[in-house]
């Protein structure tokens, strides 16, 4: 191999060749640009949160977040909507998490190659690109009409399951994929079965990204609107605002926000809208913050204290 001759020594360090000046300028310009874009992201969130606080803060009260909504008069609250949002979220997670987890495990740990794996991935990706309003109409046909459930919490949750399954499967796959193969080798090398390896080594090592992913998707489910309008309905349960029945009409907070602005007859639309938007935003932000902390805490717990 030819080695180029060494540069003659002795050049003064402070005379900078012109091409270094250009490279240095380009580096500085790009550093600034990247920094600006990153700041832009922060700024956008800050503006959004700040403006919503400014508008919605006045609407917030204990009465507002606990009272049932009003159909025609001013002074309605959003208590049952908050309850419904959490209720549908929990139902959706109960359906989504096991299926997503198990199918993700299958794709990442068992079906290393092969046609069936590609078919599953293709289906999941196609499912992920279907707009949620289309899923909502599908839910309307299947759960509301075909099964005759009318508008129901269960129908809404099942529709959301279909909407979020691909994303959560992807989260599972990526979380498991982040676990180094050397762990799997070590475990299998000790005579563990594939399943023991998954349960005792792979999942505990992937618990941080898994929890983070699940909580982030929970935030999305919490704010989902289009898929619920035709499945869970636009009103809260008539018998009991905090209704645990699977088959009651269950308007969520996000749907309520859309409904008051587009259909409702109440005179204080702006107040309810701003207040609901603020509560929704705070909840979703809390999900994001919780995702970070939970992920970190659980990861420490499952991987032993770092000395």
């Amino acid at each position: 191999m030819a080695v180029s001759a060494a540069k003659p020594g002795g050049a003064p360090l402070l005379t900078v060749p012109s091409n270094v000046k250009i490279r240095r300028a380009a580096n500085n310009v790009m550093t600034g640009l990247l920094w600006l874009c990153a700041c832009g992201v922060v700024l956008m969130l800050a503006l959004l949160v700040g403006y919503l606080f400014y508008l919605g803060y006045g609407a917030l009260s204990w009465h507002f977040i606990t009272a049932p909504p009003s159909e025609v008069t001013a002074g309605g609250g959003i208590g049952p909507e908050i309850f419904n949002s959490f209720y549908i979220l929990c139902l959706t997670l109960i359906f989504t998490v096991p299926i997503a987890l198990l199918s993700g495990i299958y794709l990442q740990e068992y079906a290393k190659s092969g046609r069936f794996r590609q078919i599953v991935i293709f289906c999941a990706e196609s499912l992920a690109t279907v707009p949620s309003i289309v899923m909502g109409l599908f839910g309307l046909l299947v759960f509301v009409y075909l099964l005759g459930w009318k508008f129901s919490a269960l129908g809404g949750a099942l529709t959301l399951t279909v909407v979020n399954l691909p994303a959560l499967m992807r989260v599972t796959q990526e979380a498991l994929g982040s676990v180094p193969d050397t762990y799997r080798e070590a475990s299998m090398g000790l005579g563990a079965t594939r399943w023991q390896t998954v349960v005792h080594v792979v999942i505990p090592s992937a618990v941080a990204p898994l929890i983070t992913g699940i909580v982030l998707i929970s935030g999305r489910i919490f704010g989902e609107t289009a898929a619920l309008i035709y499945t869970a309905g636009l009103s809260v349960s008539v018998n009991n605002p905090y209704d645990w029945s699977l088959f009651h009409t269950a308007e969520t907070l996000a749907v309520h926000l859309w409904y008051t602005h587009s259909e409702s007859l109440v005179p204080d639309v702006a107040r309810i809208g701003n207040g609901s938007a603020l509560v929704l935003l705070i909840m979703v932000l809390l999900f994001n913050i919780a995702a970070r902390f939970l992920g970190r805490a659980l990861s420490a717990r499952f991987t032993g204290r770092v000395s």
């Binding site: 762990y183 799997r184 070590a186 000790l190 005579g191 090592s205 204290r305």
Partner: protein
């Protein structure tokens, strides 16, 4: 150089082993006899197939998509590739230590207890005793006995590798396979691992892949020289290093290639 012990029964016998990765023929008709309670070194230039051969003894190729093994590997005379044999049983009886230390992201205790646990041991006293015995065998007990429940990832590279050895010997394997166990370690950690291997052969049959001929000469009684997927020569370590029969072995030993 260790003197070869009197001939004992062969613990592992490879007969015409071939390994393919897809269409690549990685190991060609390798046959080898490995006596019980001895150290056998597999040497040869990079890419010659010594690690591939080692992994065939533990059925680790079952885990690699596209890898295929033909031929026989006999453990005490029984073929580990016979169709009715479960690889889980094989890997229970044959332990493996990998090139890079790969402790689980668990505590030191949990790392060592992992093997016995997955094979059904639940008694805490038995597990405690196994963990202590294994860590002592791996010459790590004194360094970690006060922090057994701290993360194994806080250990140094050399300690992590001894932990991996402890994790393997916790199962009392009959054969211990080591794939360049000291290649990622500094000289002090390396000499600790080498001393350890000298101890381990009193109880286990050790097969070690090594890149270093000096290491092979220091720790092994038998040496097999691999080149281009074939076993060129297999003999006592002293014969390989002082009286090689094959020209290729001699060229490699004397540093003419590799």
């Amino acid at each position: 150089m260790v003197e070869a012990p009197p001939v004992t029964q062969d613990k592992v016998v490879a007969e015409n082993v071939n390994v393919y990765y897809g269409s690549f023929h990685a190991i060609k008709n390798a046959s080898l006899k490995i006596p019980a309670k001895s150290v056998t070194a597999l040497i040869g230039p990079s890419g010659c197939g010594k690690s591939t051969f080692l992994r065939a003894i533990d059925r680790m190729h079952d885990l690699t998509p596209g890898a295929r093994v033909t031929g026989k590997v006999l453990l005490d005379g029984q073929d580990i590739y016979a169709p009715e044999v479960d690889p889980v049983v094989i890997r229970h009886r044959i332990g493996m230590v990998f090139q890079r230390p790969n402790p689980f992201p668990k505590s030191i205790y949990e790392n060592v207890a992992y093997g016995p646990r997955i094979h059904g041991e639940r008694n805490r006293k038995v597990l405690d005793a196994t963990v202590e015995r294994s860590l002592r065998q791996a010459a790590l007990w004194d360094e970690v006995k006060d922090r057994l429940h701290h993360s194994a990832l806080g250990l140094s590279g050399g300690q992590q590798q001894r932990l991996c050895i402890a994790r393997a010997v916790a199962l009392n394997p009959e054969v211990l396979l080591m794939d360049e166990p000291a290649s990622a370690l500094d000289p002090i950690a390396t000499s600790k691992i080498e001393d350890l291997i000298g101890e381990l052969k009193n109880e286990y049959t050790v097969i070690i892949v090594t890149h270093s001929m000096q290491q092979a000469a220091r720790i092994s009684e038998f040496t097999a020289f691999f080149h281009l997927g074939e076993i060129v020569e297999h003999d006592t370590t002293s014969n390989i290093f002082t009286r090689p029969k094959e020209k290729r072995t001699e060229d490699y030993i004397t540093g003419r290639f590799g």
